[in-house]
């Protein structure tokens, strides 16, 4: 054992310890969550639960409104993603290709919604929504969610469109394609990775949004995160753990499915101001 440590050298050992600390820091809470969710009986000095069970799962799933909230969350996330693609992808193309005055200012302005305290922003929006009758409506909830994702949905596709070289579009025109066909067959497919990444973020961020939905959507629109607030405050931590896993699962599945597209390159290029 000792000769082995010596052979590896102190540098490697320190590196390994740092890595281990890092992994524990990240994975520890998640592991704890998983343990809690499947606990039947766990009393203080034991390192692991004495009994495993699915009782908290059946408890959570049997409660009123849970299944509906899951359906509602996914439905809203799908609508938010679709609407923001329709809004932001053309805008991103314009930012990337057309030079217009103040374009950088407009692009930068999407950051503003992230610069203020969220609750303050939501409250002032809620005041506005009261006046125009958008409180407690689907449209109101969708709008609140879109405010959150405008930045990703515009910045990342803008960078993707910029990465499509003009010569690639021009050579398609040159061989006979109309401008619309060039966009459909050349520009859009080449920018697709960025658009997919932004859409996944949008979907996940909408799935995760609680504050704004709570303010604008309650009582009719109780999405998963909103319901979770109730569960955490009203029931033991085990129920909360089960529910967090239900909330985390779609994130993991989507990110795994899209890992081909999600790369540091696509993300970082989205956040370069040019």
């Amino acid at each position: 054992m000792r000769w082995y440590l010596k052979a590896v050298g102190p540098k490697k050992i320190i590196e390994f310890l740092l890595l281990a600390a890092f992994v524990i820091f990240f994975m520890g809470p998640l592991l704890n969550l998983a343990l809690l969710a499947f606990t039947g009986n766990w009393s203080y000095p034991d390192p692991l639960p004495r009994e495993w069970s699915l009782k908290w799962w059946s408890f959570v799933l049997s409660r009123d409104g849970i299944a509906e909230s899951i359906g509602l969350s996914f439905g809203i996330a799908a609508i938010v993603t679709a609407v923001s693609i329709l809004l932001c992808v053309p805008a991103a193309y314009a930012f990337a290709r057309i030079r217009f005055p103040l374009s950088r200012f407009f692009l930068f302005s999407f950051l503003l919604t992230h610069a203020f305290p969220k609750m303050g922003l939501y409250v002032s929006i809620a005041v506005l929504f009261y006046k125009i009758g958008l409180m407690n409506t689907l449209l109101g909830v969708v709008l609140i969610h879109i405010i959150n994702v405008l930045m990703y949905m515009t910045w990342i596709p803008t960078a993707s469109f910029r990465n499509v070289h003009t010569a690639q579009e021009e050579s398609a025109r040159d061989v006979g394609a109309s401008p619309f066909r060039v966009f459909r067959s050349i520009t859009l497919p080449l920018a697709m990775p960025g658009i997919i990444v932004a859409s996944i973020f949008t979907f996940l961020s909408s799935l995760d949004e609680a504050q704004g939905t709570y303010l604008v959507g309650v009582p009719n629109f109780r999405t998963m995160p909103v319901v979770m607030y109730g569960i955490i405050t009203d029931y033991p931590a085990y129920a909360g753990a089960v529910f967090s896993i239900i909330l985390t699962a779609p994130t993991l599945i989507l990110l795994l499915a899209a890992q081909k597209f999600v790369s540091a390159d696509v993300l970082s290029s989205g956040f370069q101001m040019k």
């Binding site: 050579s171 061989v175 394609a177 050349i186």
Partner: protein, 343 residues
């Protein structure tokens, strides 16, 4: 004979002040024309105007007798090969080549045949299923040329297509392109800033400077009789000296030449390095000292410091420089000179 491509009084000015003014050029069918000049001289502006990617301020562009000015790029009988980024990386070579043919609604059997033929022509047979990312830079440009050839354009436009390639490959591609051009009888307009490239492949060269045409001529003519000092400087190597015109002709130091230019007063005299004769004995020529001798393969470059005229460079056969050495006193004669008004 009627011109195949005719550019008439083309003017396009950008806000920055760059652009071209009053460019007129006729290209015959099957001719290979090169637009040559430094960057910013407007050669690409002319090419892009022909291709339809720029709207000229005034003037006309006629192809096969018809004005194409109002047509968008996709409706013009031209095809363009760009400097880079020609291919679409999400499509295979086959799909890249087939894209234009599909738009023209050509049947699959015919399409496949044409594609395998053109790949044969650019010496990349069997590469249909590869993606552009799997090809080298030179291969990508070949595919780009092939895609243009497939569409049988009336005029093929090339915008510095080989400038991103290394020197040896550039050489090869140049030769291949010339062969293909001759074989298919293509009309081609080629843009380059490389005078060697222009000299080697063109039927005629258009030398451009500051948005205007300096000279249009065959490579031979351009090299032997550059019409302006600018062309003389830009094409090939050249030595420049001060001269003066007297009643006896052009005088450079103690040397006299007949004056065929009609110029008078002080002039700039230009001499090609191969038109310089160095003699080791003290002759009647200009006197100087050899500074350096460099053997460059089949010839040698000798630089000599000439009294009152500065350093000149001469090309000599390799065996002749064996008798010369650095620091040696020499006398210099010119077998042929050109004279330009002094600026």
């Amino acid at each position: 004979m009627k011109a195949h491509l005719s550019i008439q009084k083309l003017t396009k000015r950008y806000k920055t002040g760059d652009g071209v003014t009053d460019i007129s050029l006729d290209v015959k069918k099957g001719e290979m024309i090169t637009l040559l000049g430094p960057s910013g001289c407007g050669k690409t502006t002319v090419l892009r105007s022909v291709g339809g990617f720029l709207d000229p301020d005034s003037g006309d562009i006629m192809i096969e007798g018809k004005s194409v000015l109002s047509a968008p790029p996709e409706k013009r009988p031209t095809s363009m090969v760009f400097q880079g980024y020609n291919l679409w990386p999400h499509m295979t070579v086959y799909e890249n080549l087939a894209f234009g043919l599909k738009i023209r609604k050509i049947r699959k059997a015919e399409r496949d045949k044409a594609i395998s033929e053109v790949l044969e022509l650019v010496r990349l047979p069997g590469s249909e299923k590869k993606y552009p990312g799997q090809l080298s830079g030179g291969q990508q440009q070949r595919i780009a040329v092939a895609r243009s050839l497939l569409l049988k354009p009336a005029v093929l436009l090339l915008d510095e297509p080989f400038s991103a390639l290394d020197a040896k490959l550039r050489h090869e591609m140049r030769e291949e392109l010339r062969e293909i051009q001759a074989e298919l009888g293509l009309t081609m307009v080629f843009v380059t800033h490389d005078q060697e490239e222009a000299l080697s492949i063109s039927d005629r060269i258009v030398v451009m400077n500051h948005g205007q045409i300096e000279q249009i001529a065959t490579p031979q003519e351009i090299y032997d009789e550059p019409k302006s000092l600018y062309v003389a400087q830009f094409i090939g190597k050249m030595n420049f000296m001060k001269g003066v015109i007297t009643e006896e002709g052009i005088q450079v130091g103690s040397l006299h030449f007949p004056n065929a230019t009609g110029l008078s007063g002080e002039v700039t005299v230009a001499v090609r390095p191969e038109d310089i004769i160095l003699e080791s004995s003290a002759g009647s020529g200009l006197h100087g000292i050899i500074k350096q001798i460099m053997v460059l393969g089949h010839y040698a470059e000798v630089s000599a410091d000439i009294r009152n005229h500065g350093v000149i460079r001469a090309f000599m056969a390799r065996d002749k420089v064996k008798e010369l050495q650095q620091g040696q006193e020499i006398s210099v004669q010119f077998s042929k000179i050109l004279a330009y008004p002094q600026v």
